[in-house]
């Protein structure tokens, strides 16, 4: 069930876009000793198809917790996350795994590649569960070519630089052709040059694939690449900044 919303102003909102993710009044409480602390205090926003959204905030603001919830890795205390109109917060483990496999690709600050597998095998990993057409190795090679790593297919993660590892991680995130790519501080472990390269790659992939990118970061340079920046402070959205400079 897609909701059509009016087009936003800005470079990537030239046409009408459907809402592909609806985050509704998310709260998250966690026990801390005998007390419970409120990490997220009612977060609501929508993500549209093909959008590049950054979630920014200081350390401890709850952005990683929010990212975990919208990626289907964690459950909120209350609230809903609708992907294509389906609430993923109340799904069974098996169904949620299928959603993570087919709808969401994830990229992490620490790359999280499997150290015993080669670059190609790492990209193939998501293709061995769920239903996917074609040969996993051909798909992996195609994606590694897309991120410029054709010459590194048989290299293990410890034989790759940080930037190359993150490229492999991005290729893995795209392996199952998901609707969303969700990244947690994707440039956090990279130097400025490699960080910029990865951001360029994301921008290029966004153009080529039309995927929706959601990135949590505290880096204003990363956030500046986004169509929209959702700022979170102390578990609440304080402002939403559009790339044209307007605020909500």
């Amino acid at each position: 069930m897609h909701t059509t919303v009016p087009p936003e102003t800005g470079q990537a909102q030239s046409t009408e876009r459907t809402v592909v993710m609806d985050v509704l009044n998310i709260t998250k409480n966690l026990p801390l000793g005998r007390e419970r602390i409120e990490i997220l205090k009612g977060i609501s926003f929508q993500i549209r198809s093909g959008e590049f959204v950054s979630i920014v905030g200081p350390s401890g603001s709850g952005k990683s917790t929010l990212l975990g919830i919208i990626a289907g890795l964690d459950n909120p205390t209350t609230g809903q996350v609708l992907i294509d109109g389906v609430d993923i917060t109340r799904m069974s483990e098996g169904k949620l795994a299928a959603v993570r496999n087919s709808e969401i690709g994830m990229v992490f600050q620490a790359f999280n590649l499997i150290p015993t597998l080669t670059a190609q095998e790492n990209v193939e990993v998501p293709l061995y569960v769920g239903k996917h057409k074609g040969s996993p190795s051909a798909r992996a090679q195609e994606l590694l070519a897309l991120v410029g790593l054709t010459h590194r297919l048989d290299h293990r993660p410890n034989q790759l630089s940080g930037g190359e590892q993150q490229r492999v991680a991005i290729a893995r995130a795209l392996a199952t052709d998901p609707a969303f790519v969700i990244a947690d501080e994707p440039t956090g472990n990279l130097d400025a040059r490699n960080g910029e390269n990865v951001l360029e790659l994301i921008a290029q992939l966004r153009t080529q694939t039309g995927k929706t990118f959601i990135i949590a970061t505290h880096d204003p340079v990363v956030a500046s690449h986004a169509d929209r920046t959702i700022r979170i402070v102390d578990g609440k959205i304080t402002e939403i900044e559009h790339s044209n400079g307007s605020f909500t």
């Binding site: 975990g68 890795l73 992490f108 620490a110 999280n112 095998e121 947690d184």
Partner: protein
């Protein structure tokens, strides 16, 4: 394609495990080695004892008259049975004790005093060379084509291979033998060793035995009437055997009869007992190896928490991870099983040699099914004991990929662990019952008895870990700390009276308690951190201690 990736992932993960993987393989290998070696030895024993029971028995019926030996006139009864067709053949044997003179010299026979110590004694059977044995002829070691009738002539004797080895005599040696029957007086014979027979068939359980001709024995003591200790009888069939046994028992009420079936039954019950004992010993070794697998796999998989969370993030379900880690445990078990089965072959060969040195002839037989079964047991054991770490690993939450979450210690986690332990015990019980050849009661008793022992041991080690993790590391001596040291020392003295080694260890620990206050501050901090770290993963530390204790106990026993 998928299988290839799964295999690559699991095999490389095991290689990456390094020493931990080796330890797990060792645990499986030790368990499998124990079970296969003990099964092989049991099987060899069984074959040794039952394969030629008729030959070992000397005939279909062995009639023994120890208290009142048969006289020559008694043999007419057997002759009558033979002429009536009730039996097919018989032979009478005179048994005596023999000893060798240290100096071998040719000469004539005559009465002499004993010339050798009892430690050099052996059995001597005087037989009719033309009618002995009534079962399969013996296998000659030297000369290879010898026969009893050809060699037992003119003061020539035949000896068993064991006697040849024990007394270092060979064919052609002339020896002086002092022979004493139970009833008659002793006599000395100068004889030539004409043949050496293998310790098999009719001589399988004979040990140190010398065969001489009854004629030569009689010629040495013509005034002593012949007395036969045993008559070996052959019959045409089992019905005949049963009828003849009845008739002989009626005719010679003081004699005892042993049929092949009776010998087999007597041997079988002792073989069953030995086999069961060996199998239970192997099973316990396997169980102990299993504890090692649980511990090793827990450590191996907990190191890969983020990796497992990553797999879940990409869409892997619990069931996918069960397959992946099950394959890992299976590979581990198979490698351990192969190594264990290979080692068992060597160990069983050594055991066989040791048994032969003890005088028991055991043919070396490698049952391929037992060896293949060993590999299968290794595989199944690894899967059974891998169950707990695999399920725990598959339960890792995908959120671990973003932040390190502590392991759940809630009621559901405890309930899951208890349920898994119950499943594990039931599965291992089923395996034990299969290994113990469907002996359900023994299987349950062995497995749950061992589990109870391990539980008691775990509680003890858990308590030790708890106490150790709470030990204080003070900056200065204070009254409470000194009181603690004094209590420790007093306890060590009391413990010394019951368990000296543990008493000394506790005393040493108490002394360390004094020393630690005097060491530099950085050392104190390190010690404190080490003690607190022990307490952080109490369950795992307890399992490690249990595995180390048992491994050390096994090594000590070997």
């Amino acid at each position: 394609m998928k299988a290839s990736m799964y295999f690559n992932y699991t095999s490389r993960s095991l290689l990456r495990g390094g020493l931990r993987t080796l330890l797990a393989v060792f645990c499986v290998a030790v368990g499998v080695m124990a079970i296969v070696a003990l099964q092989l030895v049991g099987s060899m024993l069984q074959n040794s004892l039952t394969s030629s029971t008729r030959d070992t028995n000397g005939g279909d019926i062995a009639v023994t008259a120890q208290s009142v030996p048969f006289k020559a006139s008694d043999l007419s009864y057997f002759e009558q049975l033979k002429s009536e067709g009730a039996i097919t053949n018989y032979t009478a044997v005179m048994s005596a004790n023999g000893s060798l003179s240290p100096v071998a010299s040719p000469g004539t026979s005559g009465p002499l005093s004993p010339v050798a110590s009892s430690s050099q004694s052996f059995s001597v059977n005087a037989v009719d060379p033309n009618n002995y044995p009534v079962v399969s002829p013996p296998t000659f070691v030297t000369p290879s084509y010898g026969s009893v009738s050809n060699l037992l002539t003119r003061n020539q004797v035949i000896i068993t291979q064991q006697l040849s080895t024990t007394f270092h005599h060979k064919v052609g040696d002339i020896v002086t033998v002092y022979i004493k029957t139970q009833a008659g007086s002793g006599q000395t014979l100068h004889v030539t060793i004409a043949g050496v027979v293998a310790d098999s068939g009719v001589f399988a359980q004979s040990g140190n035995l010398m065969l001489i001709s009854a004629h030569d024995e009689q010629a040495a003591a013509p005034s002593t009437p012949a007395s036969y200790s045993t008559v070996y009888v052959t019959t045409a069939n089992q019905a005949q055997t049963d009828a003849v046994v009845k008739a002989i028992n009626q005719h010679f009420p003081l004699a005892s009869t042993q049929t092949v079936a009776g010998a087999l039954q007597a041997q079988q019950s002792s073989i069953d007992l030995i086999s069961k004992f060996l199998e239970i010993a192997g099973l316990l070794a396997l169980l102990i190896g299993g504890v090692g697998i649980v511990n090793t796999m827990q450590v191996l998989l907990s190191r890969r928490k983020t990796e497992i969370a990553m797999l879940k993030t990409t869409g892997y379900r619990r069931v996918d991870l069960y397959v992946l880690f099950g394959l890992e445990a299976g590979l581990l078990g198979m490698v351990g099983g192969i190594i264990g089965a290979a080692a068992a072959t060597g160990v069983s060969s050594i055991v066989r040699i040791l048994m032969q040195n003890l005088g028991l002839t055991v043919p070396f037989q490698l049952n391929p099914w037992t060896i293949a079964g060993g590999v299968a047991i290794g595989l199944v054991t690894a899967l059974i004991f891998g169950l707990i770490p695999i399920v725990q690993a598959a339960n890792i939450r995908p959120l671990n990929v973003i932040r390190d979450l502590s392991e759940s210690r809630g009621a559901s986690s405890i309930a899951l662990t208890i349920a898994l332990l119950v499943v594990l015990s039931v599965l291992f019980c089923a395996l034990a019952i299969v290994i113990l050849k469907n002996d359900v009661v023994l299987g349950i008793a062995a497995v749950y008895g061992a589990f109870a022992f391990l539980l008691v041991l775990s509680v003890f080690f858990g308590l030790v870990v708890f106490v150790v993790s709470k030990l204080p590391v003070p900056e200065h001596f204070d009254l409470r700390y000194l009181a603690l040291i004094l209590v420790g020392m007093a306890a060590s003295v009391l413990l010394y009276l019951v368990l000296p080694v543990f008493g000394i260890l506790l005393f040493a620990a108490s002394l360390v308690g004094i020393v630690i206050v005097l060491v530099p501050r950085t050392w104190k901090v390190s010690t404190k951190m080490a003690l607190r770290n022990i307490g952080r993963q109490r369950t795992r530390t307890t399992t490690t201690m249990l595995a180390l204790f048992i491994t050390a106990s096994l090594a000590d026993r070997r």
